[in-house]
Symmetry: C3
Subunit: 206 residues, 3 copies
């Protein structure tokens, strides 16, 4: 069971690291920059969560396998970028899987460390979106998650199921699976239907 969680966590890290490496190549960073963005995108969410809840050193710093998986994703992207680029749609679906996994695992870990329900949901979401935010800040862009598509809301939904399940004493495995499925489903439908959150056109209001 514990091994399964680790494998899923490393799989999520790999998928997110691919997105970081792809952004780095697009911005013409060198191979080192590609590896840094791979590691940042794959691990910054979990590392920030761990710092905030006091789980120090964070898992991604304590266990070298997170580094190995991130470097692997970076090297693959650097070596075969045209193929990675062409696999955009399957990668978006994999990314939705990574988001689902990180959101429920993040919320679960926050509950274990005694955080109250709303903050556990927030930290589940942060685990899911933090890596992508740092990735975008490092290439001097406004994080995509703040302005495009429905992404964080899917993470909030998934994390909420985990936290609600905990309050209602549901079996954790069931709540985790349902939460992950909800997050994944919402995100995939959002990609497919181009769902977006509302924004104000401030220029028109000036």
């Amino acid at each position: 069971m514990h091994t399964l969680i680790l494998v899923l966590d490393l799989a999520g890290t790999f998928v997110f690291a691919l997105s970081g490496a792809a952004v780095a190549v697009k911005y013409r960073l060198d191979i080192f920059g590609v590896l840094v963005l791979a590691f940042a995108a794959g691990n910054a969410g979990g590392v920030t969560r761990d710092l905030l809840i006091g789980a120090v050193p964070p898992a991604a710093i304590d266990d070298w396998r997170y580094l190995a998986v991130s470097v692997g994703a970076g090297v693959v992207t650097f070596a075969w970028y045209p193929h990675v680029e062409r696999a955009r749609v399957p990668l978006l679906v994999l990314d939705a899987g990574g988001l689902a996994l990180f959101a429920v695992a993040g919320a679960q870990k926050a509950l274990v460390f005694g955080l109250n329900p709303p903050m556990a949901i927030l930290l589940g979401m942060l685990t899911g979106i933090g890596g992508g935010m740092l990735r975008d800040v490092l290439v001097s862009e406004i994080p995509t998650v703040l302005r495009a598509e429905l992404y964080a809301v899917a993470a909030i939904a998934g994390a909420s199921v985990v936290v609600l399940g905990d309050r209602l004493d549901l079996p954790p495995t069931a709540a985790t699976l349902i939460g992950a499925a909800l997050c994944f489903g919402l995100r995939v439908v959002a990609i497919w239907r181009h769902w977006r959150l509302p924004s104000r056109d401030s220029a028109a209001m000036g």
Copy 2:
């Protein structure tokens, strides 16, 4: 007394969160981005301070009311942006109040955690300016506090009074009130008189 501090702290968070949300609307972020910037601007200073002094989990992560207040400020700004925009001057004055409060409370908390005087002043200042810095970084701008007007200096002045009061064994409440009044006064006069710190015109020197 303790309730009063919490109320003041939440009031400061609300005012700073308004500034974060207003920037987010100006950059056309979606409603989620507005809420993230509200939370970041309202809480990043205190969270960073708490991580640095070892107060984990940080207050803003442990207590859901900071999240609630930040979300409230975000929703208000999103719904009534034109009114928020028009209230620029009163909001600047309120922001000066938030700065004063965060600077003295931040310095006080750093002293409680055993930091030495100069670093307690630094952390008081960081509590006051950290949220605005992260807000600006997230929309890919150079933080305003680094290049415009007299802002951080007011926070340093307020925090210094608290730390000096502690060294001289003055009653903490008195030192806190004087420090907050000094910070608030300096900041308001700086807005009114357009006081700025010097900078070098590096282009002329090339």
Copy 3:
């Protein structure tokens, strides 16, 4: 011996703080912005390392001398910017010295806190490059280290010697000196020969 390490650490902080202050002047920040970038460039690498390994409060927050040295570097740069600008080459060599020192000291400290070999190398590198990364993010630029010249690789090489020496039970002082010399030498040759890491020209692949 301990005093020597502190002196070297403060020297590295001073050199890095000069680079932060110089960037701040170039971006026309005010004197406060210059001091913030000096402190950030001089200390962010070590502070991040300390947060990640659980050494709280970080050395640069606990000991006011890091602040004093950083402020000193900022004031010097602000007052005599044309001279600092003209001293570009000697400063690059001094910066290579700072990098060497931070990389080996960072790896050493990570080992003391029980991190495993690959992560100790990673943290040594982070100690060396973290300050420059935050400096660049604060002026809204993509960190230079991610796209130019051979910089981080030198830090990795130096940190690796320290970690390898620890595994082979070599005397720590010898491993530290060799690691620092290797890092410094690599970096200086990289500046001299304009060595760069490879990057992909993604535009040609679109």
